[in-house]
């Protein structure tokens, strides 16, 4: 595919479905990301303490504790058994993401996502080369490294540099020079490695990916017979290797995107002008039989 057509990804969907429909999940996702930031800012800005704390650990309405399980895990290997409140909080978060998809955290909650999304958008617009592309498994290696370093130094090691909590805490409490790290990630993703941070390096994403191995919420390429090979979904998907098995499957091959790398961002659903994709659950293996025309799918 030429860089020009990549930069144009989604044009056809806008023309066919209208701008709003072609940005539905993106807009919802931005709303969700804003929500998860604002809900923490209501307290410090307006004195409305619905939620206290940060993404690492919070207390909602004075009763619901939530704790980041990866931070908790690092604490555990560093040798501290936390109080029950933190453990319960971590279990709740674990359960939720195990159900809806671990990397839903990445695309619907994480404050770094808008940063790397913007970098990717600009990357496509400028038609830059993909640059350094370390293996996707690098993040798993890094996750292991973080746990080893936590154990050896007896500290929650990743929290010293974790740009996610750094940015979130920074916005809620005060950022210091944390913005430099965030800017660094933006520049890295834009010029050094396309999708480099979230797609290849971030150990938090790796952890949540593992967490969502068997999750219920899935994207299906149910109408794959209608695919006109425009490749727009591949251009926008942050983990586009996950699409191939579902979209290119034949006959009884599952249409579900089952890779735990999928972030359930729904952008493929947005940019597809013939509505091949849809959200569903992991037991829904229905595939459309007859080649559906664009008009058919939208009428359905």
């Amino acid at each position: 595919m030429s860089t020009a057509s990549k930069a144009m990804a989604g044009r056809e969907a806008i023309a066919v479905k209208g701008w709003l429909q072609a940005h539905k999940w993106l807009l919802l996702r931005r709303a969700s990301q804003t929500f998860f930031l604002l809900i923490f800012l209501l307290g410090p800005w307006f004195g409305l303490w619905l939620v206290k704390g940060t993404l690492a650990g919070s207390l909602t309405l004075g009763v619901l504790p939530l704790t980041d399980p990866f931070v908790t895990l690092q604490g555990l290997v560093a040798g501290h058994i936390p109080e029950t409140t933190a453990l319960i909080g971590a279990l709740i978060v674990l359960a939720v993401y195990a159900l809806i998809g671990g990397r839903v955290y990445c695309s619907w909650v994480c404050p770094i996502n808008p940063v790397t999304d913007t970098a990717h958008w600009l990357h496509r617009r400028l038609g830059l080369a993909k640059g350094w592309q370390p293996k996707r498994s690098t993040r798993l290696w890094l996750m292991g490294t973080v746990l080893v370093v936590s154990a050896l130094t007896g500290t929650i090691a990743w929290e010293i540099v974790n740009p996610i909590t750094l940015l979130h805490r920074g916005l809620v409490f005060g950022i210091g020079f944390g913005w430099a790290l965030v800017l660094g990630i933006f520049v890295f993703d834009l010029f050094v490695a396309r999708h480099g941070w979230c797609g290849r390096l971030c150990p938090v994403g790796a952890f949540y990916g593992l967490l969502g191995q068997r999750s219920l919420l899935r994207v299906t390429a149910r109408d794959r017979v209608a695919c006109d090979d425009c490749m727009d979904c591949f251009a926008v998907c942050p983990e586009n290797h996950v699409i191939t098995p579902a979209l290119r499957g034949k006959g009884s091959d599952t249409p579900l995107i089952l890779s735990p790398d999928c972030t359930n961002c729904g952008r493929c659903i947005d940019v597809c002008s013939v509505d091949v994709f849809a959200f569903t659950h992991r037991f829904d293996t229905n595939v459309s039989e007859a080649p559906a025309t664009p008009a058919d799918t939208r009428a359905a």
Binding site: G43, W49, K52, G53, T54, A56, G57, S58, L59, P65, T67, D68, V71, T72, G75, A78, G79, H80, I81, P82, E83, T85, A86, G89, P134, K135, S137, T138, W141, L142, G144, T145, V146, V148, V149, S150, L152, T153, G154, T155, I156, A157, W158, E159, I160, V161, T165, L166, R169, G170, V172, F173, G174, I175, G176, F177, G178, A180, L181
Partner: protein, 272 residues
């Protein structure tokens, strides 16, 4: 070439190469992270941890940097360390006594808020807190040590007369006044920092230091004769001859005192 040393299949070679490359990369990244993690342990002396904080090494394994303690502190004493601005490990709670000291809340809301136990829930009486120890670091500028009656640190101390007392001594400058020396008793001092905050000097003469800096320690084998005697009711070592003490004053061989007389012997090297 012997048959056993068959060349590796290309896939296998590639796999081993990739694995080695990845492991090396992780070793580099891990060392950098470990360096930062060790660096983060060096808590600056003026950064005090909230009441009940575990010893620094354990604290860094326990605190998830959620900031709930900060939110529940009614006096806005605590803040979370910002990267490159405050010296404490990024995101961990601390306070600076001279800015806002700890007001020693009876219900210790910061400890109650902590979900992880980084602030030890075993601390139920705030008077048992040990955030640091106040030290009168500068006698030369302390007003009380000049013979004045400032007394501010003593009066503001929430543990007055236990953590800090005024010890009387003779004022040799004026010759006929007293010096009321503010004196900290570490076992009662909570390190709240109110004294440091309220010190009237432009730079406080009394400062709360981390205990590791503020305190010495007594060697384990030291025995204090007077304590042992009080406990046993008799001297530690029997049959010691108690020689007369040479006190200054008239009638002794101390020339410095009026009425003192020359000693009846000459010490070598005294020029006599």
């Amino acid at each position: 070439m012997p048959a056993s040393a068959k060349p590796l299949s290309p896939q296998r070679r590639r796999f081993l190469q990739d694995t080695a490359r990845m492991a090396a990369g992780c070793a580099v990244a891990g060392s950098a992270l470990a360096y930062l993690a060790r660096d983060a342990r060096a808590l600056p002396a003026e950064a005090l941890r909230p009441p009940g904080a575990l010893p620094e090494e354990d604290f860094l394994a326990a605190c998830i940097r959620c900031g709930l303690c900060v939110r529940d502190c009614p006096y806005d004493t605590l803040s979370l360390a910002e990267l490159g601005v405050d010296g404490a490990a990024t995101g961990t709670p601390f306070f600076t006594a001279r800015d806002v000291p700890c007001e020693m809340c009876d219900d210790i809301p910061c400890v109650a808020a902590c979900p992880t136990g980084a602030l030890d829930p075993g601390l139920t009486d705030i008077n048992d807190a040990q955030m640091g120890t106040a030290v009168l670091v500068d006698q030369e500028n302390c007003l009380n040590f000049q013979g004045l009656r400032c007394d501010v640190c003593y009066r503001v101390c929430p543990v007055i007369d236990e953590a800090i007392t005024l010890e009387l001594s003779h004022n040799t400058r004026s010759g006929h006044h007293a010096i009321f020396a503010p004196t900290v008793h570490a076992e009662h001092c909570t390190g709240c920092g109110v004294c440091e905050k309220k010190c009237v000097l432009p730079e406080a003469a009394i400062k709360v230091l981390p205990i590791r800096l503020a305190r010495g320690s007594s060697a384990e084998h030291y025995r204090k004769g007077w304590e042992e005697k009080a406990e046993k009711g008799r001297p530690l070592v029997e049959d010691l001859i108690d020689l007369p003490d040479r006190l200054p004053g008239p009638g002794t061989d101390n020339l410095a005192t009026p009425g003192g007389f020359e000693p009846g012997y000459n010490l070598p090297g005294t020029g006599q």
